[in-house]
Symmetry: D3
Subunit: 294 residues, 6 copies
């Protein structure tokens, strides 16, 4: 079960509120690369963890719990950036006036309605919501918890990699020192989170032990002649580019990479006529048709 402390994990300060930056921050809350996703992902991986011991369940719970606090920081940052957003279209006009802009020292007029998420104005009362920077709501199907520990660890690395890419883009886009400071903390945490999931793979013996995923399936049951072949699909048979993936031992040490031009091994599939009573046109059935006969 869970507890809270009313203080934030890290300070969140905004000197110059910017509703457009509020919009961009939404991606880090409810986007595919965002914090709600990793928070729920780590929780569901922990809650469904089946293993002879609880070590990784325990580990996942710590980080999942941390992530709630990250959503909280970002939601606070969104609200602070919306502090002075325009409530009417006229208010927006005034701010967008070139003369006003000149007075503001040539800076981007920050109060223009045009670039805002309308949900911020119309639905949340100048606050954050669980959706992305284009207003698309968070979707739980992005929560990967496969029941396979190694697959989950790579899904977590992928999430933290796209997450840190996003945080860096937000850092680059930001102009407020408070926002840059907050992001420098979140970027550091993403650095660690990338590391820690890969450390689990290493701790369990690395690629040699863990690959292919799932490692509990007997590889003798797969078509092994295709297990380490890079298939070329160029129309004219031009071979694929040479690289680590076309030569040398495979990373799991169980095979040798090789290139192979892909050719059809199967036949043209023919499904035959449609069944009577299946709702097809009669030409598909090949004879008069009616309601299904039992």
């Amino acid at each position: 079960m869970y507890f809270h402390d009313k203080r934030l994990q890290y300070p969140v300060k905004v000197t110059t509120p910017d509703p457009l930056f509020a919009r961009q921050l939404q991606q880090a809350i409810g986007g595919v690369e965002g914090e709600i996703r990793v928070c729920l992902q780590y929780f569901f991986q922990a809650w469904g963890n089946r293993s002879p011991n609880t070590k990784y369940r325990d580990m996942l719970l710590h980080t999942a719990t941390e992530e709630i606090g990250h959503i909280e920081m970002l939601a606070t940052a969104v609200a602070l950036n919306l502090e002075t957003a325009p409530l009417s279209l006229q208010e927006s006009t005034a701010a967008a006036n070139p003369v006003v802009n000149a007075v503001m020292g040539g800076e981007r007029p920050r109060h223009v309605v045009e670039g805002m998420l309308h949900k911020h104005l119309l639905s949340t009362g100048l606050a954050a919501f669980p959706g992305n920077s284009d207003g698309v709501p968070f979707d739980g199907s992005h929560v990967y918890a496969s029941g396979n520990l190694a697959a989950d660890m790579f899904a977590n690395v992928a999430a933290e990699s796209t997450g840190r890419v996003l945080a860096v883009r937000l850092y680059n886009a930001a102009h407020d020192p408070g926002m840059k400071d907050m992001l420098s903390f979140l970027i550091a945490r993403d650095t660690m989170h990338q590391q820690q999931w890969l450390a689990v793979i290493e701790e369990l013996g690395g690629y040699g032990e863990q690959l292919p995923i799932p490692n509990s399936f007997d590889q003798n049951l797969e078509k092994k002649e295709f297990s380490y072949a890079f298939f070329g699909h160029d129309k004219d048979g031009t071979p694929p580019p040479a690289g680590r993936f076309t030569q040398g031992p495979s990373l799991d040490g169980k095979g040798q990479f090789k290139p192979l031009q892909s050719e059809p091994l199967g036949e043209e599939p023919v499904l035959g006529p449609a069944r009577d009573g299946s709702g097809a046109q009669k030409e598909q059935i090949g004879k008069p048709s009616g309601p299904a006969v039992m």
Copy 2:
């Protein structure tokens, strides 16, 4: 641009059609772990690839093109498994009759409507569709193409890991030898696909060069004291479990792992009263309110 051969990449045969297995196969077509997702993922990574050379763009195109053929194989397998599915509720009754079952040797009655996806009966005319095994349509937001090569490679490993886990579960669930054969091919291809994306990371210098992702961000700008610390969030301060992720050098060789009990570094956030005209209750505003004044 693209070309086709009417033959399949690998044979698809079904001896005993099973509409329930048709349902399960849908997960490998339109599910999160399925082939439409990886097909579009590799295509969009290729088409958006920005790089001094086109090596990885080229590599991605080969594998993306292969994946279209995998969707085709699975869609064919779904149609073949639906060959004898019941079209009416009465037809279902007959098959579910215990006596009939007994004659069938105690096997599971395969023609019961109860377990089928109704979309197979009502919307597709006994054929596949781009959705998962519970009928949820494929959703393009699962296509990861981040513009960062390393993040994309890990996203691909994650996709192929959950993809092979799924294929193994389908193999274990299957009873038809043709289906087991088809899956033994797809499993082998997933083995290779896991390898090839990791090979790109190795080719580019491995974790030391590629981590943290993105490696183009100056780490001096992140809060480095938190970059390699595993945060404990246990209420009573019980330390997190010891592991590779709490001790030793980090995997990128740029820091030392350490455990750290998480404590609030920020303050309680206070947003203050709501603005006049923002649609809040007057008690939130603290004074009489009306339409926005410009």
Copy 3:
């Protein structure tokens, strides 16, 4: 504006309630081929109709209004079919008991929870909801109202064609005479609705006048050498099958059909290196990178 009469457009009677048929009827309410879709589609086409006169706006309003009554009929049918559905898993057991089934004359046990939509049990209290037969909620993006009258008419024909296919499949699946009677009415209405949208195309001059859609674009601005060519994409250049679409005058009378083997007319696209500060890996950029420099 709108008015109601508490009576139904057509009688809805259920003699033998069947929760599984209730599930199947949901497809006709909230599925892609269902009545909510056509109802909203005709309404939005009417409300957005721009034309020198209001004839088609008026026509659309009549049929849109009719469709509300069809949703009502189907929602009533769902509720009646759920009348005796099991509320507990034990209740389900009793009904599924082979002995009980035998007493019921070998009929399909109708009260099994397994095949039901759980939303019917858990969320609606044994009533209909705006979603399809696999529980996926209705999605407004299926409402086609393009602002182009001819495109909309064809979208309406498509909707009524898949709609009547669905209604026929439900008729074939049904066993209750009341349900078959209700469906025989809805099927008749779908017959008319297919006709009426095509009649608009004919009234406006038929294919010769209305195609290609939109007919307000000057065809001299399109690459006319490709406007009536069927492109073959077979890898080995095997020509496409001969048919009405590869020979003879085009249906709009403005060209001649011909087959043509597709070949690349463009070059391999090369996007070049990623930009500094864009969140790519440094290897993609080709030089050291940092925060965006303004």
Copy 4:
């Protein structure tokens, strides 16, 4: 069944078309707080109403029918506001030119493409669609019809409360007198609709009779020691804020409010090892693994 009158329920006039306001109005059509939602919600509550009499079914039908007319008014308002929207990016440029703006008296340039919903330009031909102000399509899962009358009434109050908040925000954002007039009507109707659903609760005996919802469940079967306790979850045990919800009789008159520090009453859950053949890593299973053995 249903009928229409071609006239609107209330006049809709636009003097100065504004494509950005058209965008904002979409929230009242297809947003979570919008009219499609309440229209379908009241219809499905009516059509599924199970009760000894039809009073509330009847009441719901009246208001649901009214709501179709509200969608119609708003769709008309959107089309009128899009009357002069730019069709090309160049057209937009001209209007955004500072000099032109100056001539227009410093007003917000109304014809800028930047702030528009692109769906209005590209997909609807300058007309409304069933989606929200950020382009997200209407989603039928927001239609609450639970089969419990009191739960539905509160869901309706919630819908009309957020609906009137939205209408007030639109009123505040609007600059056109016709739009303000139309909204003043819709706001009045929302006032009534909030009242009427609460009046049903009162008519049925108020909180004392209707709470807790559902009132048909025997409260002796719930863990009554926790039924009126406000749980504190502060990490350091700081008690929750004192308020009406921590003291005095409960609103249903069946208990006394009290604060209570939450503590774990359960144990740490341990799921144990994964099953053989379940697709987990072998380390999770604890022994060699293969295909499922029956």
Copy 5:
């Protein structure tokens, strides 16, 4: 920020695992009436709370934090109920065998694949996921946080009312004593949660002070003649049913209820011809058309 204790808030025990009940429990996790929704709803209401003081922000944080623990309990219950679920279609057959059923004392065979969520088998490895009982993923648009305190309180009452209705239905459907015990706790908490949000309305002065929502809008700006009128929409003018909502003082004490037959107050809307270059048919435009002229 947040902390965890590895123990559960309340015990979760399962004696007889039932994969079908696991499916039903999913509705309480990721369904519209479920715990993820209320958890995020209370968090976002707290994090965006704008008010002269932090009392309700604080209150919301306590309950939001409690809800994480409820998701955890339910996810644990799902995993335990999936403990013995069949991994292959053959395994399912054996369990469905009538003879086996007879030995099991006529009970419902609990291990049939037909009724299971395939996501439980294929995607999660016999564990919970953030979606509902028909497999539809959790969707963040259900998180209501409007920026208006009273609207939010009613949204919370609605959520806890449908939530308790769901919990009661699950209690009625359950057969395992451990599951009934767990639900008796969750039902008690829902009782309290319904109360506490209504207590906030009372604390702020009740309906007289808080209605209509938002109370910060000057009612003189709305069309007050329609603010307390129940509109009848019967085609033949049959008046609406008499009730508390058609007579007597309104609940806010600011008006008198009355019934009123609805009549069109507006005109038939006419949008006129489509614009040149807008992609309409030329018949809609009324003259020859081409690319947009600037």
Copy 6:
């Protein structure tokens, strides 16, 4: 199976990159009218084609394969248009400066962040993604493959009609000659694609043979008195507008059109009281209630 050629089907050139046009092009990639939809639609129609011969399966495969190349062209166009998009909010400011604009000859400032899709900046690294111009992800439920050949052909005509309308709108909006050239090719292909699906209907005997769809259902089983009647739903009985759809022979030659005022043929539906244990309020049940009794 499938093969690729690295060159594009048709040249894609961009002289003046415009991130706003990149946004608009997304509609043609991942929108309802876009290329991913038709590509998957033709593939799934082909893969599920049941017919005495493979002619139309073959035909569909050619065009589906062509469509992959169209997605590729558009994705390339998006990436090229994002070439110079601003990465920071400050960069945007500079470009939006009126003085800079003046120097640019009064043209629309192309680098403003306000109008961009934030997903292009934050999630894709200046490249395309499978979603529409408002950022909504592609949704597989738009792929129509009904199992009925004629219904599918009309669905294809509808898709290509809205597709060509979209392409024309993009052509009109475009300012770059390379973009206009690319679109002139895609518009020509849409011309052909509209034709070819209608040619199939003609080849199969035209409306007389193919309508009503499905033509395999015995029309004697439908309520034929309503099969060719246009129902009027005007409240006051004003007849519907006269047109081809109210008079003359029906287009299938099987009936005569006629107008008919719609009247209720059914009764008011009454569902009766709620069942005990169904989670309704006790007032709905009409007596004391509790847990379901078995």
